[in-house]
Amino acid sequence: MTSPNFSDIENLSALLDEKLPADEARRLRARLEQEPDLRAAYQNLRQARAILRQLPARRAPRNFTLSRQMAGVRAPTPRLFPLFQWASALTAIFFLFSLGLNALTASAPAAEAPMLAAAAPFAAESLPTATEESAPMLAAAAPAATAEPGAELRAAAPEPTSAKLAAPAADAPNASAETPAPAPQFSWPLVSTLLAALAVLLALTAWVIRWRAEQNFRRGA
């Protein structure tokens, strides 16, 4: 007869809970009948378990349910909220786009200003010619250009821009007779301002929709 080792204690504890395989349980029960130390250890374990089972079950001192705030539950998103949110985002993108266009249109005239200045006298000279002389002369100039390409190219070399610039002037005769009506100006800065205002308005509306939904949700909680 030997005093039980820890492996025996483990098996006795498992036997107590009926968690020992059948053949092992049978062997251990046979030993229990023959070994008083083993039997005493088994009784100790059994008593410890019995004492623990005597512990009274306490009732919870309060309810542990969660409030919406504790659980961090947010109000359901109102249906209109994403609509306004996306509209606001799109408007903001258009706004940025318009700012870009604004910058482009503002820089283009500045780059072309010296060329316009250089072309102005030529245009001023050619304007009366174009108005006084008739179209046939212009038509005759065209074949001449084809007949003497080298000379014409040399002569025309500095002129392409001025010719291009003069082209509206050449078209001007008809208009020059009457007072030229100012073309309607498309104001990009105005568009940008309107888009910015619209983006802010849409974002505000989205925020108000969300805020009101959360207020209603809290009142309901």
Binding site: I9, R46, I51, R53, P56, R59, G72
Partner: protein
Amino acid sequence: MNEIALIHDAQQGDLDAFNRLALAYQDALYNTALRVLGDSEQAADATQEAFLSAFRNINSFRGGSFKAWLLRTVTNACYDELRRQKRRPTTPLEPAGDDDEEMESPRWLADSSMTPEQRAEADELEHAIQHCLNALPLDFRAVVVLTDVQGMDYGEAAAAIRAPLGTIKSRLARARLRLRECLQEFWELLPAAFRLKTEAHP
């Protein structure tokens, strides 16, 4: 109570469904925390923390015993609480008795149907057991509370504390042995009826 339906609803974010589950299991969770921590205030805090954590992570529940899953969250909350205590030890504030001494088993917690004598015996027994539980290492304490106090089987306890079955078996045997030795010191303090009852076993 259709537990599966409530769990499903809670997983969809239905707080009311979760709260119904909380009401059903709050006593089990509170008792586990109380026996592991040995303090009613801390046990209440750990229980609340466990339910909060359970709601946030309910989608990680993949079936099986919901009670075992909840008990795992409360065991974790107890571990966290004990770690916090180690970092910032505090003096427990317990209700004072007539003689201005702190009562570890306040009367307001006791069952009103008991006579004063029975209540005193029960308090004494509970005090002794809790004292011995507190003397156990935390890992042993958790296993013995889950199996012998909460009545979980080895598999559930293993799932609750994420340990292999062999570890549960070993820790439980050691815990029972140590408890028995510890309670030996209190044997004379234990109520006579209980002494006779436990010693009567062959």
